[in-house]
């Protein structure tokens, strides 16, 4: 159970940061290779997933550990997202395709 919560928190942080990045036109356009705008969905989903990541860390370890774990986990997820956007932004296109119908 602990491992599942940890995995959930990590994935939610990674996808949440990826969506927040995609909510910015420059990254959205780099991934879609168009001049379209991202709309509000990526931002809303991104914040929702980041909140979910924090909740999962609290459920796993309690608030005391989560107060340390969640910020460094989300910071690491931001770093991973930035590196993906630098090296191979198209890696994020499946996420973009998933949220496009919701826009």
């Amino acid at each position: 159970m602990n491992m599942l919560l940890l995995l959930g928190a990590v994935l939610a942080a990674l996808f949440g940061c990826a969506l927040l990045a995609l909510s910015q036109p420059r990254h959205w356009q780099a991934v879609t290779r168009t001049r379209s705008e991202p709309g509000r969905t990526p931002q809303r989903l991104g914040w929702l997933l980041l909140t979910g990541s924090i909740v999962l860390t609290i459920l796993r370890d309690g608030a005391s550990f989560a107060a340390l774990f969640a910020p460094v986990l989300i910071g690491s997820a931001v770093l991973v997202t930035a590196m993906v956007l630098t090296c191979c932004p198209r890696v994020l296109s499946p996420i973009m395709k998933m949220i496009m119908p919701m826009n």
């Binding site: 005391s64 550990f65 340390l68 774990f69 910020p71 460094v72 910071g75 690491s76 770093l79 630098t86």
Partner: protein, 522 residues
């Protein structure tokens, strides 16, 4: 929302630039050693191979251990046992010898016999103290320098937030293909923002841990200016008073330990174990036994439990519970000490520490990059910052590699005086670091690549020398589940790979140097 005036932003920019340039290298050294300190017990096991013992969790009898101690330790008036854990599998003994000097012993938890170990300061004896005080002990000067650097870091972080205009817009931005100056600033901004809460917590908690050193008057004031009373109220320190001179045997340590742990567990509602067991006035009628639970595995908060029992009757003399204000600060301190059993968080701390190193190094590098197109490049100030940055970044990493290699290659009997071998390892560190500064001052930017190669070679040499001198190569340690040693070797190999890649990237291009090429403002 109020607008930030341009004057204020410029003032913050000035503060950010010059605090960073002046204290950046001290900060890098403290952050680098702090990052390594996260794995200090594992480094200890790598550097002192005799302590590579599997912790089986069995109960240790301290009555038996006390009876088995060498005479000098057994008859000492002060004997301190550090209870073994998974990360510290040996039993540490700290005692005062007949000459009044403090001595260390390590005992094998399976037999209770003293272990003859490699004479090394290792992680806990050098890397950790370096993080705290740069190992400058004179008048606590090192602690004050590190404290000043911690305070400067908080100022740097706050001023940096005001300096950067597009924090959110550029949160995910890194453009290595742009001009070196722009790419360096991107990396500085990115590494700063991803770890911001961590970077604020670390210097703040570090300052709080040493509050009694930096602000002793404030802490002692409620206790009539008596610092000992303040310490006792905060940490449960106990003074057994003078020895009576009447010899008396000590009662069962194991029974007293069970009693203290039962008391704590009842209060906590969960099992609480002893970390430290200390006999004061040993062998005297006035003997007392001090039990402490310092670093709980399952909580961030440092423990609040200390019990002092009478050495003859086993009666409870003091059942100390930290006051609420102490508990509040104990969370912040626990967050800095990282002794809890949360491995994912420990690894993220390690990455956060490395991120801090990148942030500091790129800050100094950006200062250099911003000036390299100007005539200032030939100035003494520029050359000084350049040499300090190269020596302070790649130099200290190379010096750490040399420290590891020296640990494996200096023969055990190379020095007849006890302690000299351990000191020789440290001297190698300082010597290599000094050479790195001189090398950087002479070769200037060409030193980056050469020092990166030195790091790669030293890291591989450390792994190879560990395999040759102990037989514990990666294949063996991975197969036997000796993660401390395997992890250290793997990290050294990763470091070698990154350093070699960096050295290739940093190698100067064969293009002839242009005499003057002003860079247009971006």
């Amino acid at each position: 929302m109020p607008r930030i005036s341009e004057d204020f932003r410029q003032a913050m920019n000035w503060t950010h630039t010059w605090l960073g340039v002046v204290l950046g290298i001290v900060l890098f050294a403290v952050f680098w050693m702090g990052t390594l300190t996260i794995f200090a017990p594992e480094i200890d096991r790598w550097m002192i191979p005799e302590t590579r013992i599997a912790h089986d969790g069995r109960e240790v009898s301290y009555d038996r251990l006390l009876a088995q101690l060498p005479p000098d330790a057994a008859t000492s008036d002060y004997v301190n046992f550090v209870v073994p854990t998974e990360r510290h599998p040996t039993i540490g003994v700290f005692y005062r010898d007949s000459q009044g000097a403090f001595q260390n012993l390590l005992l094998d938890p399976r037999t209770g016999a003293p272990i003859s170990v490699t004479d090394s300061h290792a992680g806990s004896g050098f890397i950790y103290p370096f993080h705290l005080s740069l190992t400058i002990e004179w008048q606590n000067l090192g602690y004050w320098i590190v404290g000043l650097a911690a305070l400067a870091m908080l100022l740097l972080l706050v001023s940096g937030i005001f300096v950067h205009r597009k924090i959110i817009a550029e949160l995910f931005v890194f453009r290595p293909q742009r001009k070196p100056r722009r790419a360096t600033l991107d990396l500085h901004n990115l590494s700063s923002l991803v770890g911001l809460p961590f970077y604020i917590l670390m210097p703040f908690s570090g300052l709080l841990i040493f509050a009694s050193l930096y602000l002793p008057w404030g802490m002692a004031e409620p206790f009539g200016g008596d610092m000992d009373k303040a310490e006792a109220a905060i940490s449960g320190a106990y003074d057994p008073g003078p020895r009576t001179g009447r010899p008396a045997p000590i009662a069962s340590l194991d029974a007293m330990k069970r009693k203290a742990e039962a008391m704590w567990s009842e209060t906590e509602g969960a099992p609480v174990k002893t970390n430290i067991l200390r006999i004061l006035n040993n062998g005297d009628e006035s003997a007392v036994v001090y039990f402490r639970n310092t670093f709980p595995e399952d909580r961030v908060v440092l423990s609040k439990y200390v019990a002092v029992l009478d050495g003859q009757s086993g009666a409870v003399l003091q059942d100390f519970v930290k006051p609420p204000i102490g508990e509040a600060s104990a969370w912040v301190q626990g967050a800095h000490f990282i002794q809890f059993g949360h491995w994912p968080l420990r690894w993220l701390y390690f990455l956060g520490g490395l991120g801090g190193c990148v942030m500091i190094a790129t800050g100094n590098l950006f200062w250099l990059r911003s000036r390299e197109g100007r005539l200032a490049r030939a100035s003494l100030g520029y050359r000084t910052v350049e040499a300090l940055t190269i020596g302070g970044v790649t130099g200290i990493i190379a010096a750490t590699g040399a420290f590891f290699v020296a640990n494996r290659l200096i023969p055990a009997d190379a020095f007849p005086v006890k302690g000299a071998r351990a000191d020789a390892e440290v001297q190698v560190f300082w010597l290599v670091w000094l050479i790195a500064f001189v090398h950087a001052a002479i070769l200037r930017e060409r030193a980056w690549a050469q020092q990166a190669w030195a790091i790669a070679v030293l890291a591989i040499a450390a792994v190879a020398s560990n395999a040759v001198t102990t037989g514990d190569h990666i294949g063996v340690t991975l197969a036997e589940g000796e993660w401390a040693v395997a992890g250290m070797d793997l990290l050294l190999l990763i470091t070698a790979g990154i350093a070699a890649w960096a050295a290739i990237r940093l190698a100067p291009s064969p293009m002839p140097e242009r005499p003057f090429d002003p860079m247009p403002a971006e």
